[in-house]
Symmetry: C2
Subunit: 147 residues, 2 copies
DNA sequence: TATTGTTATACTCTATAACTATA
DNA sequence: TATAGTTATAGAGTATAACAATA
């Protein structure tokens, strides 16, 4: 049921973000750049758990739309620093509002205390999976976030 | 987070079922046939929320492996009744054990009361989404189960 | 030689439409 | 004409390997 509900949640988030010209991954990328400042593509790939080659295909449209710029890191000219533009910041704001709408719709059957209990339980599961996998060396998608 | 955790759950279930030569959908199909007896493909498509064309591609390997048979319904020779064989029943048992292992691993950080509370909250969300969509006419994947 | 980023390729899952056979 | 099932095709998402530039 967790898998099925998660699939439905992803579908709704994808629909909402598509209306803003973004994929869920691109929304994630914009959010990271907003919170952490400019990042190299390697860092973005690690944080979002996407292969480097996939990251490129996500960044290209973002750069073409002027939401993001790529500049060479002067100290290591192999690295491309990805920077959030002002346009990108605005797009992130409207996309975040759309995301919030989807979340409200998804969890409208729960009151505030039920919602926080659900988050609390999911956090327990997630944290156990992430550092559990780091410990026993069975890497999966979830733990690359913290590595 | 629900979407991400659901994705991870689906990945683990898929891996477990792949080891038994099944997809998650095929496991779902076998389970339905076990619980409800022979069903026409239309019914299976509705219950599992898969397009008819997708259902065919899931049933073909099941029939080839002898887990399932397709027979014409004598009362409406357009309908193909899908029947679970004894081999299919056995495969379902081993696959169900594998699914249970994955669930135990996923939720090992929760004790029994936490697990039941999580299920309870997820059921609330799911039921609201399903009959909520039936009411307001915004059909999604989840509500076809109950229609 | 190793690392960053890019390109090309293939594979899976999914959605759609066209087709057949029955009703 | 409408329905049950099938086939073929195209699209999105993802994973892998080969490649260019830089360290």
């Amino acid at each position: 049921m967790l898998a099925l509900l998660g699939h439905e949640a992803m579908r709704r988030l994808r629909d909402a973000h598509t209306a803003n010209g973004l994929t869920p991954r691109q929304f994630h990328i914009l959010g990271l750049l907003h919170d952490r400042g400019p990042l190299a593509q390697t860092d973005l790939a690690a944080e979002t758990d996407t292969a480097a080659s996939v990251l490129v295909t996500q960044l290209n449209p973002l750069e073409a739309d002027g939401l993001v710029t790529r500049t060479l890191d002067p100290r290591d000219r192999r690295r491309h620093l990805v920077v959030l533009t002002e346009t990108g910041r605005q797009r992130l704001r409207t996309a975040a509002a759309a995301q919030q709408e989807v979340e409200d719709e998804l969890f409208r059957s729960l009151n505030d205390s039920q919602r926080s209990r659900l988050t609390q339980l999911l956090v327990l599961v997630r944290d156990d999976l992430t550092d559990g996998n780091e410990r026993c060396g069975t890497p999966t998608s979830l733990d690359r976030k913290t590595s």
